[in-house]
Symmetry: C2
C-alpha cells in the first residue's frame, strides 16, 4: 500500500555538523555508528582528544587536541561531549551552550552537579542540551519522563541505574569476590575511570538527581541525597541473601510522600524473585515506575558499554536534527514539592564484631541476630533518623533495604521498648 | 534552586476542546481523569453515547446520542473516540479527520484495517491522529518507536500485546479452565465486547500491524499476518508446559530477515523462566525489542483496564496540546522491505486422536511423541510451509512456538528422511 508524501516534507531534519570531544569507549562508538548511518544527516567534522600520540581507528585529519578548534568553528552546530575529565567537560559544555550550540553529553556527574546553570545557559542562548545516555544507558527514560509520564501522576520510581555495580553484584552473587568482580567490570569498559564514582553510589546519586528533575521537577545537588554504595557489603549479607533466595541490587529510589514531597535515596536492596528487578543482571539497568493511572511499569536495557550508550547518544542526535529540546514542564510548573527525609524504610543493618549499632533509632524492630562475629537488626526506621545515626556511614556497617512488600515475621517482631534487652541477650542460632 | 522561565513560554500548550465518543470502560475513565487534571488544558464539551437511558456518572447536560452535534461543533478541535461499534467508529474518525480535527482513539481494529486511509486524511486535512492506547495499553511503545528507536537498527520485537488473553492464560496456568478464565476476563473489563477478537488472536494481529508500521514502516492488512489464537490449546499442551517449567503466552513477533524483509506472526509461545516475558502476568503486556546498538530492551505495563488505557489516552491528549503528531519517518523513508514468510520457526505441534499431522513440512524434526490420545512433533519449519499445511488451522491441532533459544535435544533430533518411520513407530513413553 503506497503512502502519499505530500505535506510531510516540512519535518525534514536539519543538518548537524558535529564537534566530538572524546574518542574512548563511547566516543569511538559514536564515530563508528555515524559512519554507518548516513541517513542521520549528521557528520563529524572534528574530534578533540587528550593524547595526540595514541593510534586511532579513524583518519588522523579528523583529530585535534585543541578544544578551541571545535568551539570556534562556525560550521559546528552540535558539540557531543564524551570525555572523562570533569573540569574540562564543564568548560566545554558551558562554552558550547554559551555560543548557542546544541550539546549532547553522557556525563551524569557534570550534569547533575551543574543542572541549574545548564538550564539557564540553554534558555539564555537557545541551544538544546540532551543527555539521555547519562541515565540508564540505552533506556529512554528521560525522554519518556518528559513526554509521556507527563500527566500520569507518577508516585514512585525505583531502579538499578548503574551498570558496573550491577555487573559486580551479579558476579558476587555467583561467588566471585568484590575485587575480582570490580576488575572484570573495568576490563569490560563498564566502570567509570574513577571506580569510587560507581561503587560508592555517587554515579547512582547523580542519575537519581536527573531522574528527580525530569520526573517531578525537583532540582537537588546529588550530595544532598541519602546514599550508600556497595563497598560495605559483608559476607554475612550475601549469606543472608542466599538463605532467603534474594539478590542484592544497588537501587536509586524516589517516592512521592503524602505531603507532596519526595523521599529519595541510593541504597543496596534485597530483591526477591517476584520483583521485576530480580531479573536485571550484569550491566543491565532496570526501572520500575509506579503511577496512579498506568499502575506499575517496568523498563530494562543495557546501562553501559560502547554501543548501548552510543544508541542513546545517537537518538539524541536524531532528536536534535528534528529540533527537539527537553521542555522541563514539571520544573516550570513548579509543582514538585521538594525533597523530604520524613519517610520510613524497612532495612537490614549488618554489623561486625565490636561495632556498636544502636537499635534505638528504629520505630520498630522486626528481628535481631547477634553472634561472636557481629549480627544484624531488621526493622523500620525513618530516613531522617537513619541519616542522623552514628553508625550509618560506619565502614563496618551495611545497610540494605528489605524487599519491597517485606512482611516482618510476626513471631520475632518486637516493639521499640524491648529492643535493648534483645540486643544484650544471648546470640540466637 | 530557582529556575529562570524567560523564553520557554513559547511551548505553552494549546487549549483543547474535546468531543468524547463512548462512556464505557475507557471513556468514563477519561472523563474522570480529566476532571482531576485541570492542568491538562483540555476540557470535555460533549459526550456522545448510544443509549440515552443508561444512568451516567456525569452531568446529563454533557450527553447526546447525536454524533453530528460533536462533529459539527466549531468549538471542538479534538475528537476522542472510545466506542465499541466498528462501523460507527470508522465514520466518526474519518469525518473528524476530514474536518481537520485532531483525533485520539484506542481502536486498534479500526486503525489497523484502515491505516493507509487514515494516514492520507491526516496529510490532506492537517489533523493529528494519535493512538498510543491501541497498542499495549499503558506502555508507550508507539511514541518510542517513532521517536526513540528511530536510528537504532531494530531487528526484532516480540511481545504479549493482548491483556485479556494473557489474563486467561495466566489463570489457565494456575489450573482454571478456559471458559471460566474467559468469563473472569470479561467481568474485569479486559475483554473486547466480541471475545473472538481477543482469543483468536485478531486483536494481537491488529496491534502487530500497527507495530510494523511504526517500527519499520511496513503497512499490511492484519488479515495477511500468520495468526493463531489460544482457543486450540489442548490439556496436553498445558501438561507439556508444566513438565518443562514453561508458561504459554500469546505473542506477536516480528523479525528483520537477512534480505531486509520482516517475518511477522501471532502465535502462542512457550516461555521459559529466563525470558523477560515469563514474568508478564494477568492483564500485563510486555515487549522485548532487539536492536543492533541497544541490544535487548524490555518494557512492561498494564495492557488493559480503565485507568491503564486512560493513561495512554491522556498522554496522547497532552502531546496533542503541544502539537505532537507521528512523523511516520520510517514509512516515508520507504526503507521497510515488506513482509516475508521465508523464515524458520521452532515449533511444537500437538494433535488429537485421529488427526493427521504431516511432519513432511518440517525442515528438521527434533522429537515426536505419539500415544492413543494423540501426540506432538517438535521441529523446525518455515512460516511459508506452515501456512501451506492442511493442518495449520485444524481445530484439533495446536501450534506453539518453542522457547527462544530452544536447543533441540540431540538424542532425539532426527533428520527429515527418518520422520515418516518415527511417526509410524510405537508410542514413546
Ligand atoms: N562507558 C560507558 O559505558 C558509559 C556509559 C554511560 C555514560 N558514560 C559517560 O560517557 C563519557 C565518556 O566515557 P567513556 O567510557 O567513553 O570514557 P573513556 O573510554 O575513558 O574515554 C575518554 C575520552 O576522553 C578523552 N579526553 C579526556 N580528557 C580530555 C580533554 N580534556 N579534552 C579532550 N578529550 C579528552 C580521552 O582522550 P584520549 O583518548 O586521548 O585519552 C578519551 O578519548 C563519560 O562522561 C562517562 O561517564 C560512559
Ligand atoms: N477496555 C479496555 O481495557 C481497552 C483497552 C485498550 C483499548 N480499548 C478500546 O477502547 C475502545 C472502547 O472500549 P471500552 O472497553 O471502553 O468499551 P465499552 O466499555 O463497551 O464502552 C463502549 C461505549 O461506546 C458507546 N457506543 C457504542 N456505539 C456507539 C455509537 N454508535 N455512538 C456513540 N457511542 C457508542 C457505548 O454507549 P452506551 O454506554 O450507550 O452503551 C459505550 O459507552 C474500543 O475501541 C476498545 O478496543 C479498550
Amino acid at each position: 500500500m503506497a503512502l502519499p508524501d505530500s505535506n510531510l516534507k516540512s519535518s525534514m531534519p536539519n543538518h548537524l555538523t558535529i564537534g566530538l570531544f572524546g574518542f574512548g569507549v563511547v566516543g569511538e562508538g559514536i564515530y563508528r555508528v555515524l559512519e554507518e548511518l548516513p541517513s542521520l544527516n549528521a557528520r563529524i567534522k572534528t574530534i578533540c582528544i587528550r593524547d595526540p600520540h595514541k593510534p586511532r581507528a579513524a583518519p588522523s585529519a579528523l583529530f585535534t587536541t585543541d578544544a578551541a578548534q571545535l568551539l570556534q568553528d562556525p560550521d559546528i552546530n552540535l558539540v557531543v561531549e564524551l570525555i572523562d575529565d570533569a573540569a574540562a567537560a564543564y568548560r566545554i559544555v558551558t562554552e558550547a551552550l554559551r555560543s548557542g550550540r546544541h550539546v549532547v553529553s553522557a556525563n551524569k556527574k557534570l550534569i547533575a552537579e551543574h543542572l541549574p546553570e545548564l538550564l539557564r545557559l540553554q534558555q539564555q542562548h537557545g541551544g538544546s542540551f540532551l543527555y539521555e545516555a547519562a541515565v540508564c544507558g540505552s533506556i529512554p527514560i528521560l525522554r519518556n519522563l518528559e513526554e509521556y509520564y507527563d500527566n500520569d501522576l507518577l508516585h514512585a520510581l525505583s531502579g538499578i541505574v548503574n551498570g558496573s555495580t550491577n555487573y559486580i553484584l551479579t558476579q558476587q552473587a555467583k561467588g566471585l569476590d568484590y575485587a575480582g568482580a570490580l576488575k572484570q567490570a573495568q576490563e569490560l569498559g563498564f566502570a567509570e575511570s574513577d571506580p569510587s564514582l560507581d561503587v560508592e553510589g555517587w554515579d547512582a546519586a547523580n542519575k537519581l538527581a536527573l531522574l528527580l528533575a525530569h520526573a517531578w521537577g525537583i532540582v537537588t545537588p546529588p550530595e544532598a541525597l541519602l546514599r550508600k554504595g556497595i563497598t560495605r557489603l559483608r559476607p554475612h549479607d550475601w549469606a543472608h541473601a542466599r538463605e532467603k533466595g534474594w539478590r542484592i541490587a544497588l537501587t536509586a529510589t524516589a517516592t512521592r510522600l503524602a505531603d507532596g514531597k519526595v523521599g529519595a535515596l541510593v541504597l543496596p536492596r534485597f530483591v526477591d524473585e517476584g520483583h521485576p528487578l530480580y531479573g536485571v543482571r550484569d550491566e543491565y539497568n532496570g526501572l520500575v515506575l509506579e503511577s496512579r493511572l498506568a499502575d506499575r511499569q517496568f523498563l530494562s536495557g543495557k546501562g553501559a558499554g560502547r554501543y548501548p550508550t552510543a544508541s542513546a547518544v545517537v537518538s539524541d542526535i536524531s532528536a536534535l536534527s528534528y529540533g527537539y529540546r527537553y521542555a522541563y514542564k514539571k520544573l516550570r510548573a513548579g509543582t514538585g514539592g521538594g525533597l523530604s527525609d520524613e519517610f520510613s524504610l524497612d532495612v537490614f543493618v549488618g554489623y561486625g564484631e565490636g561495632t556498636r549499632t544502636g537499635a534505638s533509632a528504629f520505630d520498630e524492630v522486626y528481628s535481631t541476630f547477634h553472634s561472636g562475629s557481629g549480627g544484624y537488626i531488621t526493622g523500620r526506621i525513618t530516613a531522617a533518623r537513619l541519616r542522623a545515626t552514628a553508625w550509618w556511614q560506619d565502614p563496618d556497617v551495611s545497610v540494605i533495604a528489605l524487599p519491597e512488600g517485606f512482611t516482618a515475621p510476626e513471631r520475632t517482631r518486637v516493639s521499640r521498648g524491648k529492643v535493648r534487652d534483645l540486643l544484650i541477650a544471648e546470640p540466637v542460632a
